[in-house]
């Protein structure tokens, strides 16, 4: 019963919404999430739940695949570092509010110390610990090796390496040219441009949350919700034919999922106007084109008028519009996900004639 309920809750709609809700709670109340009590309770409950889940043979068979071990380590480190960074930030925010300045800037911490032994020994011990960790890992888990390469027989599911599974998961909602090329390109360029867009001089060289609320929320949303979480979905919840399977659900290759996704053009012309699709491609897709144009261009003045005018004044034109473009690009993914879940939307603009599907 409980397992079926968890399977049900794990479906992308509920789990993604849940992660988003938790993310917004973190951003709204970092003082709660960053407290030691919250950290301890989460740690214990995660360990208990994870330990209980491990007793399930189906879950265990997925989680114990050798190439899935790194993701468990990743999850442990990501969750810990997420909490720890917020914890340190909140502590510093309290100090700053009390007029004491961040912990990293106390006279004692500004004092200069010798690299030998303070830094060199730390590095030595970290290196030794890392070596031991790797050797133990290597002894207990054999590197995976399947049958020899066979170009004529594709395994099902065929998955990319785990660090790209967020991108592969995006393929559910976007075509490869978006999920595999354009969006990763935007992520890359956006990351490189980040220091030039974020002109907030505060929070340079110490943990904080309150002083960089907007930047930290945006980055965390992209990093935790869109990148790390989608890797989890792609790894643990996608089985044969990239169909969704709950954590306790056997990967039955014959599971049938009704897929009746339709394009925006079909919704508009056939369902709404009760006519056939027009022959002219542009006319057929006119609603999608207009909608996309509105999303990328038309919406910008509205955002600017409502929230952005202060940013625009502070940041300057180029920075501001770059920021808006990056936010809209990032937001396009959750928007597309919810459209798929709620109205079975496949493509907003569907031009298979030019391989241009959006």
């Amino acid at each position: 019963m409980i397992k079926e309920f968890i399977n049900y809750l794990s479906s992308p709609l509920y789990s993604f919404t849940g992660v988003m809700a938790f993310f917004f709670f973190t951003v709204k109340r970092p003082d709660i999430v960053g407290s030691k009590k919250f950290g301890l309770i989460s740690l214990v409950s995660i360990l208990v739940i994870f330990g209980w889940m491990l007793t399930d043979p189906v879950f265990f068979s997925v989680i114990s695949l050798p190439d899935n071990i790194p993701i468990i380590i990743l999850n442990a480190v990501v969750l810990w570092s997420w909490w720890f960074a917020i914890h340190k930030g909140v502590e510093n925010d309290k100090r700053i509010a009390a007029g004491e300045g961040p912990l990293e800037g106390t006279p004692e911490n500004r004092e200069k110390v010798w690299a030998w032994p303070n830094l060199v020994y730390t590095e030595l011990f970290a290196g030794i610990a890392c070596t031991v960790f790797l050797i133990v890992w290597a002894i207990f888990f054999k590197a995976p090796l399947e049958e020899p390469a066979n170009p004529t027989w594709a395994p099902n599911p065929a998955k990319a390496p785990w660090y790209f599974l967020g991108l592969q998961e995006m393929l559910v909602y976007f075509d490869p040219w978006m999920a595999g090329v354009v969006l990763p390109g935007i992520i890359l360029v956006g990351l490189i441009l980040l220091p030039f867009i974020d002109t907030n001089p505060k929070g340079n060289g110490y943990f904080t949350f309150a002083e960089r609320k907007f930047a930290i929320s945006g980055f965390m949303f992209g990093w935790i919700v869109l990148w790390i979480f989608l890797i989890q979905v792609g790894t643990f919840l996608r089985g044969p034919n990239w169909t969704f399977y709950g954590p306790f659900e056997y990967w039955d290759a014959h599971k049938v999922v009704a897929e009746n996704n339709i394009n925006l053009s079909e919704i508009m012309w056939i369902k709404l106007f009760n006519t056939g699709l027009p022959k002219n491609i542009i006319l057929r897709e006119i609603f999608g084109i207009l909608l996309t144009g509105f999303y990328l261009v038309g919406i910008v003045p509205i955002i600017t008028k409502k929230w952005g005018h202060k940013f625009l004044k502070d940041m300057g034109t180029i920075r501001y519009y770059l920021l808006i473009f990056l936010i809209l690009s990032a937001a396009s993914l959750p928007i597309k996900m919810y459209l798929r879940w709620f109205i079975n939307l496949k493509y907003i603009v569907a031009m298979p004639e030019f391989e241009l599907n959006l």
Binding site: E123, A126, F141, L145, P148, A149, F164, D175, L188, E355
Partner: protein, 260 residues
Amino acid sequence: MSEQSFADKVANTQVWKSIFRHGPPNNARNRAAVVAGNVFLHLHPIKLKKSGVQLGYTWCMGGLTFFVFLALTVTGVLLMFYYRPTAEYAFTDIIGLREHVPLGIMRELHRWGAHLMVITVWIHMFRVFMTGSYKPPREFNWGVGVILLVLTLLLSFTGYLLPWDQLAIWAITVGSNMAKATPFLGHGGPGAALAQIGDFVMVSDKNDVRFQLLGGRFVGEAALLRFYILHCVFIPLVVAVLIAVHFWRVRKDGGISAPL
């Protein structure tokens, strides 16, 4: 002088003095000398702010990434002694590595190390972001770091093909199929159909970006050789150069970040 300990005697030999040109690092002068006089240690400043050596601040993730990179270089070179990048031998050489080579955890160390490096590099980026360390004067070095992050992923990705098993070729097939969809440059991407003059197709599966990446229309022997060279020579060289730039700029931009 008969009270001299063995360690003192060793430290007084001509050989020892020729290697270490200063006394033990227990006073200011020698502590400066040991860092400045050693080609490896001189990456460090001689003195630095206390906040910069605290694990709670740096998480040691950048340093560990570099350490794992070195470990991967060593284990990778050892693996190259046993591995031939051809469709005929690649898989059996991996079997041999597992079954016949003494201390047979080299491939495990290399594979798990590669995964670990991806993790540490991500967490390093997260820490740098959360401490605002990309802010002036470190904007450029953040950009170098982003490129290093991408190269780390590419290193791991190119290495994924080399065992030449089902896991390898199909993961690379899935990954490289994305290149097919590159706008204008891939034959399955938007815009490729426009690059057509009469019957002459300019972007086809015989010349698009995926073809250049794989050296063919599918993941075959040419792709194996390409990925091998990229993995063992080309990307590591680029990474090594960029790491040098990255470390140099850490020092030149004022060391590990701290409140202004």
